[in-house]
Amino acid sequence: MEQAKQLDADKLYTETDTNLFNFDTTEELTALSNETLGQTRAVEAMKLGIGVQQEGYNIYALGPTGLGKRSIIQQFFESRASHDPTPPDWVYVYNFKQRHQPNAIQLPPGRGSAFAKDMDTLVEELKSALRAAFESDEYRSRRQVLEQEYQDRQEKALEELQGQAKANNFSMLRTPGGLVFAPVKEGEAITPEQFQAIPEEERKEIEKKMEELQGELQKILQQVPQYQKEIRERLKELNRGIIDYAVGGLIDDIRKKYEDIPEIPSYLDQVEADVIDNVEDILPEEEESPASVQNPLMALMARARGSEENSLKRYKVNVFVDNGKTQGAPVIYEDNPTYQNLIGEVEHVAQMGALMTDFTLIRAGALHKANGGFLILDILKVLQNPYAWEALKRALRSGTIRIESIGQMLSMISTISLEPEAIQLDVKVALIGDRMLYYLLLQADPDFSELFKVQADFEESMERTAENQQMYARLIATLVRKYKLRPFDRGAVARIIEHSARIAADAERLSINVTPISNLLIESNYWAGEYGNGKVTASDVEKAIGEQVYRGSRLRDREQEAILRDIFRIDTSGERIGQVNGLSVIQLGNYAFGRPSRISARVWMGKGNVINIEREVDMSGPIHSKGVLILSGFMGARYAQKIPLAVSASLVFEQSYSGVEGDSASSAELYALLSALAEVPVKQNFSVTGSVDQHGRVQAIGGVNEKIEGFFDICKARGLTGDQGVIIPASNVQHLMLRYDVVEAVRQGLFSIYPIENIDQGIEILTGIPAGMMDDEGKFPEGTINAKVMRRLEEFAERQKKLEAEGKGESLVAAQENSK
């Protein structure tokens, strides 16, 4: 077996060669046309999403925040939208047949507001033209003649009847509710006594005559409604003529102007008919009506209900989508995607204590504004707003937008509100959100996969090739310009690229999360300003990084202090049996730091089980528990092929007061176990990380940089001795982007980092004793760690066998197990 060698200092940090760059500062670099660096997969997906016109090809952009998803999508949509035709304007107009269902009309872009303006002008002119026409002597006299004719007709009939009555000695008298025919004598109604004095035959004659007169009167009065209807019709006819004359020309002008829009001529016909029907509401009364004098409240209500303003409001046009100033197709980002903001709403105004609405109060939603173009939404916000997601899906599925209040949608409110005509929807929607939401929706919502077929998965990092680093420099230049920062020199650019690799936790990859990089650029610029630099240099960047770390490192400093004051016990020198320094990472938001932990193992005769103390008290996460169980597998396979594994062991993270998760400590746990079994002490000047498989191979772990630095900081604080170091999985070497002081210490031989492939390499470093390879007979060379472990296990097995032969084995082991 090959012995592990410590890493050279130049393997610990992959610098970016400034010779890659043929510029002095970012000023010389051209900006990137978009921020799609490293996002080939997502870009291809978006091209597909935009290109396919069929239903359901909407886009979901997945990835954590800070990747610039929204601005990339916006750029893509905008570049496509500029070639697309501008969608039509939409207006709502009064529905003269169903007043609660306003009609939607589409007009070519810009003509919606022109139409509204034309109608406003018409209404203005309508008022004055109608007033002039209806106040003209000609109209008045024609109307008077008409009314007169009707009155005369009735009057004449009544007068004739009165004459007839008089001739028969009756007087037609008015009662509070009608008319009577009273028999009279010399102008006065006769009394019953006088009546009785009349001979019976005459009396009968009088009664008969009276009945006749009543019948005649009935006939006359029965005709009244008919007359009234007739006069209304004739008045309407007269009005029609006069309105035609007064405003027909005005309406015709508009009709001609919009004759290419199919709905408008018929709408104008209805307007004209409505003006004729309601001319009395349109023209204000000259004087207060008696009703309004007697009851001011009634007058107020009448004014609110059917005043001139209200009747004319009917002819208004509500331009609720105005694309007059839109170039190409619209690209809308709705920042607050509430139900109403998405599908629009019908607003209300309070009037005399009641909520009133009409078609002019219909307000467009984001879907209306984006209709014919593109809509970008943040899925988390959509899901957080009640019913917004359902409304969005319904609109996309049906291809129409129907404005309904939430109450209507849930059938909770049955009062009459408006039901505006639904309009056709043709929109490409892009949702932005994290991966978890994408997969949750995919699993939980069957509509989701139907409606959002394009998955644009954004990368978080990209390969650190020379070419990509040059592109990265241009990305930096782009951001520098965007935020109006001082130019960054080559060194500063290189340092930022290196830091980006550190963020990616990989020396061979670069983070393309723009937010932390932008923050670093802005803060570096600040420090350059503080130092009076005209351009930002590597030392400004270094300062900014240092300050970021300092701001976030309060907890790290407290933890380190606790170790240095021996509150948390971590040895960095000497040797101990069954005790190894493990390494863990604590993540605090976007700042992470490493911290050593003491891992200890104890062994005793038993039945081959390893007790994970953390698990016994439910402080072990599943991955950690799995790692410990793997150890049992390794132990059994390596040492118990011929003898029973007659040992029990306990493993613990000392002084751990919260849970333990992850398998990166499993190699450290194994070393502690082997040390305890072999009774060989472990050097405490080393710290260990790495997970282990059942064959004893050491596997990569996360947070390697933070872990190394965590142990280094403790050693440095206590004084570097030269024999201290960290053992890491060999497969993690490619991730190393260590801090400058660590690299320097290694270069000076004050600290060391050992990459290992397997457990045997690790135990050799930790104990200074060879691990030993098993020979053909299944034996390990004498003096090696493995041989010592084997010997101990054989001892346990033999003793157990002996005890069993004596009949005590079972009970003894059981007693020992129970005492744990």
Partner: protein
């Protein structure tokens, strides 16, 4: 008649209310005028004795004005109906008097309508009459005609739905009543910078000239704008046509000295279709 009223002042105005809706409508106009003249409003509701008599017949029937049905009548229901209407009239008078801050009086009397009107007219200076009748008729009712013919009081007759409005025309024929009419008009317009259109009626031009001079003398003593129009050798038809063409909305008419047939006056009033104030 009080002393002031001899000089053209009007202290008491009578409005007669009966079963006709027009009479209630005239109430508003009456109140407005009373308020302008600072006069007291006397409203009299007359329960028509003829109706009560008729309704006591076993065969009494009424033809409903609103449904054209024949409904049985008896004295009790008729009394109730009249009382209810009187009560409505009382409320209307009260509310309108309050609104115009008027002194008012309301009486209910029973009897024959023409006689009761004339009786009530004894105590007042001006009688206001709506055009009573069973339809929206334009012609004067029998009661109005009777008042015009027999009452010595000033009378104001409103066509339905109209009020006393400017511009105001005044017919001047040199009689005492003409001068009273001028004084009355002057009182009426005292707070308004409004003009009286005086229509001088004369048989000859020189007469007209004299009459105008007479008015000019009066104008010198009174602060009043006046415009003059002459009608030489007029008849009622020409006069009516002239008034209509000038667009007057109210007219003050002095009662003729010579015993002109009452039909002539009422026919003239029917023709002009504006409120006419007859000054005696």
């Amino acid at each position: 008649m009080s002393e002031e009223s001899q000089e053209g002042g009007i202290r008491k105005i009578l409005i007669v209310l009966d079963a006709s809706p027009n009479s209630i409508a005239a109430l508003g106009a009456a109140a407005e005028l009373a308020s302008l003249l600072d006069a007291e409003l006397t409203a009299v509701y007359i329960e028509d004795i003829n109706l009560l008599r008729y309704s006591s017949f076993p065969f009494a029937r009424e033809v409903s004005y609103y449904s054209a049905r024949v409904i049985e009548q008896n004295q009790q229901t008729m009394e109730l109906q009249l009382r209810a209407q009187a009560s409505r009239a009382r409320k209307a008078v009260q509310s309108i008097a309050e609104r115009h801050s008027l002194r008012s009086e309301f009486r209910v009397v029973r009897g024959l309508i023409p006689a009761e009107v004339l009786k009530a007219a004894v105590d007042v200076d001006l009688i206001i009459l709506g055009r009573a009748g069973w339809s929206h008729r334009r012609r004067l009712g029998s009661t109005a005609k009777l008042v015009i013919a027999q009452s010595p009081r000033h009378a104001l007759i409103f066509p339905q739905g109209q009020k006393f409005r400017l511009p105001l025309g005044l017919i001047f024929d040199g009689t005492v009543a003409s001068m009273r009419a001028l004084t009355f008009a002057n009182n009426l317009l005292k707070d308004q910078q409004a003009e009286i259109a005086v229509i001088i009626l004369a048989q000859e031009i020189h007469q007209a000239r004299e009459l105008q001079k007479e008015i000019e003398n009066w104008v010198d003593e009174h602060d009043q704008q006046v415009s003059y129009h002459w009608l030489i050798g007029p008849d009622t038809r020409r006069l009516g046509a002239f008034i209509r063409s000038e667009g007057y909305r109210s007219l003050i008419l002095p009662a003729p000295v010579e015993p002109v047939a009452i039909e002539t006056i009422t026919a003239f009033m029917d023709e002009v279709e504006i409120p006419v104030l007859l000054i005696r």
